[in-house]
Symmetry: C2
Subunit: 239 residues, 2 copies
């Protein structure tokens, strides 16, 4: 009995450690998202460079987590919710790594965009979008830590707000381009930055879906076009 | 002994079935990629609509595969390469689902773009890029089926060609926009289509990385900025 308890507590500790690594990875990604946009808003090239350099920490953390999950499965052969946890961790780590890449992309464009002159107000709009994405990510990580299905479901709904924010940015940037061809290049950078943030929201939704799967054993239906919610009609309406 | 063999062959059959589902999912995604660009080149709105409608088949196949992998792990408690196989299948299914979404995005933009007048030659360029992406996906699936590490390594290298093709498209579309503001809207659609295809290449690279991990137990280093390889300098040079 003692032996069994012993094994049990060691197993629980492994699961806790795996979760802690995911939360830590999430924290790094959160910082990367918000800082990349702060770097843009403050014209802080130094900060932007640091984000690009530090992304490898996020990447190696994903590899660490994958290997730890693999080891845990082989060693403990988890079943039921423990097994779903391991699978969810793998999927979430993939999503976090991708979000980290998007933040890195924003930072890379920042270093380039600072050479040009981005339209006034545009960088503030990007920062607003980034803040919303960061909060959404934070809440998705909380829902994971707390196995909070309700919070997870809310996140899937809230990602639509991110899409709407992106859509209005898309229109904003498009008007800059229409008005002045010289703003096309900086506006394209801003477009891709906003797009990277909007896509991050899709990956945060995937995290929330994993939380729901983990807690309920069922995957929520997802009929949204992941990765490209640019307003077709709004573009269509412009000749 | 017989009992053990019996379990064994049943287990092998489960693994074979799981692999077959992944290959089938890959086939559907391949078709979706190439057809979405053919729809654009042939102004075939009907075909574009069909691709958008059929994407749910790809999505439900991913869910099927996830659940089958979960069941197999719980039932057979695989270890070593078998366990890595299950993990690789999960990651590959995620990548295929995402590529399917990108193809759907291209198809959705096709239906919109056909309302406008895309610059001559642009649709042919998109189709060329799509063909290369489709072939890359096919080869990555073969490398998975054959556990061919060499072929998988080649795919990671070949994805750079996709990036280069995308980069030249990016410049091509940018010039259209510079020359004529009325072409900005169709060019933006073409941009996002090309971007969706380029990102598909990144996910195909992830598939190849999973094959290497599956066969060798080691994840290849990946220092490429996934999801955003737009040529910064080429954009920078246009003030």
């Amino acid at each position: 009995m003692i032996e069994k308890d012993h094994i049990h507590s060691a197993f629980d500790q492994d699961l806790k450690n795996l979760q802690a690594s995911v939360m830590r990875m999430g924290g790094l990604v959160e910082a990367s998202i918000i800082n990349s946009s702060i770097a843009l808003a403050d014209s802080d090239e130094e900060l932007a460079r640091k984000i690009v350099e530090d992304d490898h920490m996020i990447d190696s953390l994903e590899t660490e987590i994958n290997l730890a999950a693999l080891e845990l499965s082989a060693l403990r052969q988890p079943i039921a919710q423990d097994l779903r946890f391991v699978f969810a961790v793998l999927k979430i780590a993939t999503n976090l790594e991708r979000i980290g890449d998007y933040a890195k992309n924003v930072a890379k464009r920042t270093t380039v965009l600072l050479q040009t002159s981005p339209p006034d107000g545009a960088t503030a709009s990007i920062l607003r979008l980034a803040r919303s994405v960061q909060v959404l990510l934070k809440d998705s990580l909380d829902s994971f830590a707390e196995r909070d299905v309700e919070k997870a479901r809310e996140i899937i709904v809230r990602d639509h707000d991110i899409d709407l924010m992106y859509n209005s940015l898309f229109r904003e940037f498009l008007t800059y381009m229409m008005e002045d061809p010289r703003s096309i290049t900086p506006s394209m950078h801003l477009h891709f930055m906003a797009k990277n943030l909007e896509r991050s929201g899709d990956h945060i939704t995937s995290v929330a879906e994993q939380v729901i799967f983990l807690a309920t054993g069922e995957m929520p239906k997802d009929d949204r076009p992941v990765g490209d919610t640019t307003p077709f009609e709004s573009v269509e309406s412009k000749p």
